[in-house]
Symmetry: D2
Subunit: 354 residues, 4 copies
Amino acid sequence: MAGVEVDTELERLYEDFGRHGLLPLWTQREDLMPVTPRPAAAAHRWRWRDLYPLAQRAGALVPVGRGGERRAIALANPGLAGLPHATPTLWAAVQYLGARETAPAHRHSQNAFRFVLEGEGVWTVVDGDPVAMRRGDLLLTPAWAFHGHHNTTDEPMAWLDGLDIPLVGYLDANFFEFGEERLSGLSTPDRSRAERLWGHPGLVPVGVAGSAISSPLSAYRWEHTDAALAAQLELADEGHPGAAGPGHAAIRFANPVNGDDVLPTIRTEMHRLRPGAVRSARREVSSSVWQVFDGSGAFVLDGVRSEVDRGDLVAVPSWGETEIRANDRLDLFRFSDAPVIERLRLNQSAEIVR
Amino acid sequence: MAGVEVDTELERLYEDFGRHGLLPLWTQREDLMPVTPRPAAAAHRWRWRDLYPLAQRAGALVPVGRGGERRAIALANPGLAGLPHATPTLWAAVQYLGARETAPAHRHSQNAFRFVLEGEGVWTVVDGDPVAMRRGDLLLTPAWAFHGHHNTTDEPMAWLDGLDIPLVGYLDANFFEFGEERLSGLSTPDRSRAERLWGHPGLVPVGVAGSAISSPLSAYRWEHTDAALAAQLELADEGHPGAAGPGHAAIRFANPVNGDDVLPTIRTEMHRLRPGAVRSARREVSSSVWQVFDGSGAFVLDGVRSEVDRGDLVAVPSWGETEIRANDRLDLFRFSDAPVIERLRLNQSAEIVR
Amino acid sequence: MAGVEVDTELERLYEDFGRHGLLPLWTQREDLMPVTPRPAAAAHRWRWRDLYPLAQRAGALVPVGRGGERRAIALANPGLAGLPHATPTLWAAVQYLGARETAPAHRHSQNAFRFVLEGEGVWTVVDGDPVAMRRGDLLLTPAWAFHGHHNTTDEPMAWLDGLDIPLVGYLDANFFEFGEERLSGLSTPDRSRAERLWGHPGLVPVGVAGSAISSPLSAYRWEHTDAALAAQLELADEGHPGAAGPGHAAIRFANPVNGDDVLPTIRTEMHRLRPGAVRSARREVSSSVWQVFDGSGAFVLDGVRSEVDRGDLVAVPSWGETEIRANDRLDLFRFSDAPVIERLRLNQSAEIVR
Amino acid sequence: MAGVEVDTELERLYEDFGRHGLLPLWTQREDLMPVTPRPAAAAHRWRWRDLYPLAQRAGALVPVGRGGERRAIALANPGLAGLPHATPTLWAAVQYLGARETAPAHRHSQNAFRFVLEGEGVWTVVDGDPVAMRRGDLLLTPAWAFHGHHNTTDEPMAWLDGLDIPLVGYLDANFFEFGEERLSGLSTPDRSRAERLWGHPGLVPVGVAGSAISSPLSAYRWEHTDAALAAQLELADEGHPGAAGPGHAAIRFANPVNGDDVLPTIRTEMHRLRPGAVRSARREVSSSVWQVFDGSGAFVLDGVRSEVDRGDLVAVPSWGETEIRANDRLDLFRFSDAPVIERLRLNQSAEIVR
């Protein structure tokens, strides 16, 4: 056939593909199967100094209650076209609860945690167990656990919510159920029942089975996290192994039942960099959100430097090159979809590529 | 504040959210967290009688070679806006290789299989091991295995390709590498080396370690699949357990190393329904693609009946209600993202909801 | 104190220890904790030409029936002081069933297998499923499965029984129950129901769950074992990996559900050495019993050579140095307590010592 | 044949069996395969008031040093014929270290722990990491870790040693190596490096991998154990689950890496019974040794009551019926071979029998 005829034939073929719900591989192979990841999501930083005042304004204007359920303001990755997704898999939001307010109980198949940047006086009630929320604490509400929050003070409180909403939506595995309108379990104990049962290092109760799916220890307190990070750096000073890198300590929050991540789809970690320390540039197959818990420094993301201060949030797409530099002592909370990648064994090729 | 002022304030707040890369939860909570899954993907049927002639026309018009790599025509789910995705996680395509043609070698982090509806005479060469492709066979090319295909006959051959391209793309875990232009391993043995090592029931070689990530048995032959299905129905006739349901036999293709699915992200199964048998309506948290291998019948998808014949393909989104009815003996190949859902423990809430 | 006084004091102390049920470590530390294993069990060979006539004589003199249960003659390791133990953990016996005889049903917590050196015509009925026994077959009766045997022919038949009787006795985990006096399930199918469900390479039934504890595939047929061994040697001839060593093929019998050993406490393997081939001297933390299935050769056990012929049995204690030499083609069945050592992680130190 | 002839023939047969290293099953089937376990080991109690003075006398008479290695006095179960075994699998001893004494370093494939009834001032140095020993602490020296002890005070100290010496000997998996004569790592820190890295509840270090075989947390401190037990009883008082039974709290010491037992062959637990509480009679497939840490009460073993006081030790064979009664608050340390039984799946039949 002559070239023109072929072109016409080809056009007709492509039209017929379209008419029958088909698309050829050969015209888009490179987009579908690039040599290395080409995330649509962008590396991005959100400033706490922008976020927090907006949360305060929402506190004044938007009631919290049944339907909307939570006064939570989500990070919308600029690469993800108007979706409230910090990365393709992760949802991150600032939740703001005003003085004496209550967020009603519900449960869902999405896994959730809270990480507290500042404040105290809110209890989250997880399947009837009241869990105090205080600066530096990580609190869990695993899939299908009922949970609501109530503020017992005359001050508002704000914290970071992390969920796997985008992932669970993508996989069409959403389930949701409303709980009681008025929370029961309004007592305000210092420690939750979960901590009293599961919060002893290396000790597991004989009389109750903990979940192997998500951690039964619903609160990880700052006091322990801080001590663990401090110990690693002290050990390094004494010449012993333990630190994650030079001037860099890091812990992973784990399920005491089996050592797995606290949630099946979300890894949570805390990092500490000494003043002047650098976590050297690296790429990972996994997307993350970081929050500055304390101190200041900079993220160098694919070569672009962003200064960060207390409360600032940074989204890092998969395979994004990330270097972290501490000015003064820099404490960073991080959550990521690393368990997803690992459970699906999608980190194997990257290991070979390196 | 008066209502109007509040509205203005609120508008301004939402604008400011947008300016700072934020989105509120409360206006879209129900969309983000519906009571049960609301897949964008549609239940859909593609007719082989439409597909195959289009593949033939592509065979005449489109060369196969480096760059486009494969003459593969993908099912584009009508709910997924122009993407070549059969379901949110699964890619399914008809691949067509003309007489004496060769598809060049490459490898990628995406997991792939081929399932052969008809024909023979093509060998797929997987990491140097030539694997014959024949009607009813399931052939694997796990992540990061080099593979190319060559047609040794004067007849074209077409088959079903299944991959996790959408999932791996969503998770930004794509890696790709070109292999040799001209295939080595052009011998045409009846059985691959993989089968000679791993294809003996319940026997594993002592001298080589098989992969626990994906099956080292790269070919599952129709002869065995057929025998396994026949045996289940015979056992049922004799009053013994074994069948998947009344008049319904089913096997899952498994890794002989550990019994897991053959690929970490894709489950593959073969089903046989007796003439007149019905697989009763059910919902699953997991999306699937079915292909009619033999016989005819109907899929009733969320209450809508679609007749199916040999070669027809049906995509079923997660939580789509699916009933299957056999006219004559109906053999069905199925692949799904069930291992993804199970490994991420996202089937737990559904178990409770039921 | 003076030396004599000390000695007297010490004698009195040791007497007092004895009176209170105590024993000092320091006088026996080296025996309790030797530098490398010092098995009481001996490396030993039993000749089939001795064993079989004795089994025949027992067939004439000793009835088989309730109470004694089985006409089984056990290998008594000369190092184990009159106990019917082939090694500290393993029981091995020749079982002899006369023409038309039946061994009544029972079940027990001990795990058992049969390996058939010669003959056919006996069916073992495992939880109601009749399993034909033929030369070269491995048949399983896992813990707590009811089983009896019946000889449908006018010829006697003898085979090897392997159990974990010594181990289960040592751990005081014995449970035993008599079954029906007259076997039900007296049909004599060529293939058991277990094989029809589970005996297809890499295919698992969707409708029934197999046990992860012991293999649901109760028969491993010689035809498959032979083919797997032959294929390994052919692959080696063609320059491909697969063989266990030069001129040496080996397979492990595995649970198709998860790839584990067929029984939780016993590993079973078949080895083939080419004429003149040598399996070089090695030590393992694990005790074994080998039986010559075909051919002739020699075991060199801690430097002492024992010739072996068809049917001969060899017990090898843990850490015994073992070399195997084939005269003509030598096929060897082996069973061992390797899963015990591995599950208890007692092979770790040895790995470091090597 | 006539009866007499048969008897003669049979005698001759049995003689010939003996000559060829064989033993018939039918004469000893019931002993080999009893209906339920018939342990040779006896239920037995040792009094601390007997043990401790003997240990003191040994301290005066027997030096500690290379060769004998440890001044440890083992419990010899009266049913086990002069062997220094508390149960068939477990070794239990009182180790006594005089003022300023040092027990030299060594390592072995046997797994060991120490449990401290009273005193302090000894450090055990585990692979160079000094671990303080104090009342109520559980200290680990897993297989193949170098360890020695040194007493930094002018007072002697005694504690319970628990090892799997009988099991490892039975399985012929013994390996042993002398270490340095003079301990290095003579510093006396309050907390070991292991605790500083691994002793934070639910937190695991990112920079070092812990062993999945045995716990990297080499010290479990009484402070935590006590708090965990107290919390369970408080929760019970408040009407919440958590306790092991009425008036009965119990924890299992676990590997923070994966939640497994701290040693692959030994389970360790601490139990607390309230004054007057009863742990009802039960049987388990597993042998145990209990030590009274505090309080007094009674063990009713197969119906026989033995009073117990602080320091007393009780050995319970597998399947021995055990009831425990508290007079005043009774704290009990227990170790057992439960992981052996579970890993070998020998508890399955018992589950069915019950």
